[in-house]
Symmetry: C2
Subunit: 209 residues, 2 copies
DNA sequence: CCATGCAGTTAACAACTGTTCTCTGGAATT
DNA sequence: AATTCCAGAGAACAGTTGTTAACTGCATGG
């Protein structure tokens, strides 16, 4: 599928990626709406005008970052929903997977958490679009689970959204304690596990009331 | 308790409030980290330097906005937790209260949702501090509820945090459909109600497993 | 009634921003 | 080998930013 692109295109994608990486770094302590294009090019060591060869604006760059950040999250979600074992085992594995992902992609997680409700409309929309796709995927997985027998579509989607939001909240909490001592990080993991467990219990008794 | 302050102080607080209001308006489509002090003073119709009579920086103004925004939320939380009736009735009333609050204070809700994970550290910390106080308050209310008999403190705090996060998510969802047709707004209310109900069911069966 | 305090003004500063136009060197195409 | 293409450089633009300093006028307290 992928052509072995010429030196030309290869170099272009290289600086494009450099711009994305530099931006992600700068966004550690500011929001996208205050990120300047000169700031980014300066960090890469390239002329300000070179920016336009890759992005129309910093908002445009932001949308590209959404693809990158949530693209890396997609396989994780697949792994979680297709996980085997009983409820508690699956929850523990999910929390651990989220923890790992935050440790390996902290900047991506921070970017999504920050810009999900951030000041740039196009980026907010891009994130919401991707999250809607995640929820859809989770819904499909839930529908195949025997626990969800008798559930109508609206309730399945409701639960899927609850899970997706919970995943993001958990990721954000792990991010807050990234540099904290192991003991505190463990407490966050335990609290997240309990949250998921309570939701899981609610799910099992949903059709009783 | 409150002195009838002189004309002097009265006028000062007036322009201070004007600065806060103008900032809140400007933050409708940008983040605090990109809000300039000149931008704010221009919107108020006052000299840029006047800003310093009230705030050290825009970050400082942001912290003041946190007090204002979450201060107005505090009484609402009290009303919700002290609400009487069975579980479903309380949930419906809570969702409706949140809906009302979003309609009457949309800018406040947007500000909190945006800056909770935003690019300004001092503001993030201020918000987290206030939310921790909310969770504490909810914990106390839960402890007095017969449904929570036998729960340990950690689980109570876990549930309280879950409720607080859920409240913010719900508020943010209402915000997204503020200008949407009634039908869509109703669907959001229903989904939020169901979420809360599922959590409530999980709560009732928590000690069984 | 006079002296002090202080909210807000005016002017100026160096530094920074996004965007346009023109140019260049080397890869890609023929 | 000659030609086209295009990622990136360079310079210049008008406009913006935060911050400093010295000021003015009016409410305040003696």
């Amino acid at each position: 599928m992928s052509h072995t692109l010429g030196l030309r295109q290869a170099q272009k994608q290289k600086t494009r990626q450099a711009l994305l990486d530099a931006a992600l770094g700068l966004l550690e302590d500011q929001s996208l709406s205050s990120l300047g294009l000169r700031e980014v090019t300066r960090a890469v060591g390239v002329a300000p005008t070179a920016f336009y060869r890759h992005f129309r604006s910093t908002a445009d760059l932001g949308v590209a970052l959404v693809e990158e950040a949530l693209g890396s999250l997609h396989p994780m979600i697949r792994t979680i929903v297709s996980s085997a074992g009983d409820s508690d085992q699956r929850i523990e594995r999910a929390v651990e997977l989220i923890d790992r992902h935050v440790q390996t992609h902290p900047a991506h997680v921070r970017f999504i958490a920050r810009e999900r409700h951030g000041g740039v409309q196009s980026v907010r929309e891009a994130i919401q679009g991707q999250l809607a796709r995640f929820a859809e995927e989770v819904t499909d997985a839930l529908a195949k689970d025997p626990v969800s027998e008798g559930w109508d579509d609206e309730d399945l989607l409701m639960l899927a959204n609850l899970y997706v939001d919970q995943m993001l909240i958990t990721a954000s909490l792990f991010l807050d304690v990234l540099e904290a001592p192991e003991e505190q990080r463990h407490r966050v993991a335990q609290a997240a596990t309990r949250r998921m467990r309570l939701i899981s219990i609610g799910r099992e008794h949903w059709l009783e009331g």
